[in-house]
Symmetry: C2
Subunit: 276 residues, 2 copies
């Protein structure tokens, strides 16, 4: 049974989860960060409700709540408070106009261990130094769509549960397993040993024209871990040395390297193709 | 010989090209549209100078002009007026802060004909209904990087010379040949006949799971035209019927289709791979 409450006072503490929304999704260890998981729009709110994150509240405009609650299995929202607000009120509380008119917040949960996400995985991505939320979001969207089993974070990556990542990933960051590898800028690469021990063939993606063609690098491999570095600097030499092979996507001379989420999507395609 | 002029009056008519910049790049047939080609930042301004578009002026902050003019072949800027402005002045004239501090404007030129861009081309992309500037920009960037020879526009696409497209394409829209196919929503598909007559194998990209695997659709083909539709609706049935084959990128069940620039990049990769 869901109880819907109409709220018309912007100071109502039941709206604290969505107050000053540009800050409340920051990591709990950062100033002002509440560390909440925030989902926006019916598709992503639906995926949050189906995820392992315990949902705290659903907030929305009357018409958006009506159609959303009509469209889902009622058991998904059982016991979750639903707050109905006007567009003006939500804009005032959140700090900007939320034209989608539907939000849900959840608590973070303890992250899975690397061993847990590697169990039963055959294709994983490992990111290093990827600080751009949009790139991380696209990576999750593409990985989920193209049969990648998990994403692992090496040193220097942005928070995957940041609101913008949740949105760009279309909620797939809430479904696809991920975990963080331990270590600093120069030491995290040692934790790649775990992947080797689990039988993964480690492949660095690089624009280096001396590297192997992606097709050759992936041909006939059982388990594969694809390493992707930040746009611009790419993977550190430390990271590439810890892998089995350096693979390139052929590029026309005199052009720029591809966006990293695009490069990774091409590698996901080739990985799938190589197993046909 | 280049003459650099310092301008300190925001009303100076020599700055009219960059005045109210959020509007001046609109197509000449739209209200307020001057139809200029606008390049931002040293990389893209350099590509504009090397392009077929006649450059009208270069505008920038002192330090940005110094380093840019030092870095390029002086003959590229011969006879082109260079206007030095402060950051504050440029922000006032352009209507927003231009942190890159370097701009160039050019006139549009007559577009190439379809026959001209098909000459010597072996791989082309045909877009239908793609109204998103960012997608068009990414398409040019990826096409240039991955050996595609030209982009053709079917009905309903956004203007490829819009400022945002120029920026997102990293200036490749100024280099890669493009042309528009004639016709309306329901008739433009007939102009695909031109491509068939020129020997192109026409391939529709679709998420339809009944379609052929992309690898099979492209195997052993000489000339290929890849058709890509808008995100969401995809290609019209009309357009797909005019092609030789419908091709899909395999997707995991229950996931969303890929971003269209990403799908196209995967097709460019497969096209290149199929010719190894």
């Amino acid at each position: 049974m869901t109880t819907r409450t109409v709220i018309s006072d912007p100071a109502d503490p039941r709206l604290d989860d969505v107050r000053d929304l540009n800050h409340s999704d920051s990591r709990p260890d950062l100033p002002g960060g509440k560390g909440l998981v925030v989902a926006e729009g019916p598709l992503v709110v639906g995926r949050l409700l189906e995820s392992r994150y315990p949902v705290r509240a659903i907030v929305g405009f009357k018409n958006k709540l009506d159609s959303f609650l009509d469209s889902i299995d009622a058991s998904l929202v059982e016991g979750i408070p639903v707050y109905e607000v006007s567009r003006e009120l939500l804009a005032e509380v959140a700090g900007f106009d939320m034209h989608r008119g539907l939000l849900a917040t959840a608590d973070r949960t303890e992250e899975a261990s690397v061993a847990q996400v590697l169990e039963n995985a055959r294709t994983v991505v490992v990111l290093e130094g990827v600080g751009d939320h949009e790139n991380i979001g696209s990576m999750f969207r593409n990985a989920a769509g193209m049969g990648v089993d998990a994403i692992l974070f090496g040193n220097g990556c942005a928070d995957p549960l940041y609101r913008r990542v949740v949105r760009v990933s279309m909620g797939h960051v809430l479904r696809l397993p991920f975990a963080h590898l331990e270590g600093t800028y120069t030491t995290w690469q040692r934790s790649l040993e775990q992947l080797k021990e689990a039988g993964f063939h480690l492949v660095s993606l690089t624009p280096d024209p001396e590297a192997e063609h992606l097709e050759d690098a992936l041909a006939g491999k059982d388990k594969v871990a694809l390493l992707v570095g930040a746009e611009g600097p790419g993977l550190t030499e430390h990271a590439m040395r810890a892998t089995d092979v350096r693979a390139r996507i052929p590029m026309a001379p005199g052009t720029d390297s591809l966006n990293l989420a695009t490069s990774a999507a091409i590698a996901f395609y080739e990985r799938d193709r190589s197993q046909r």
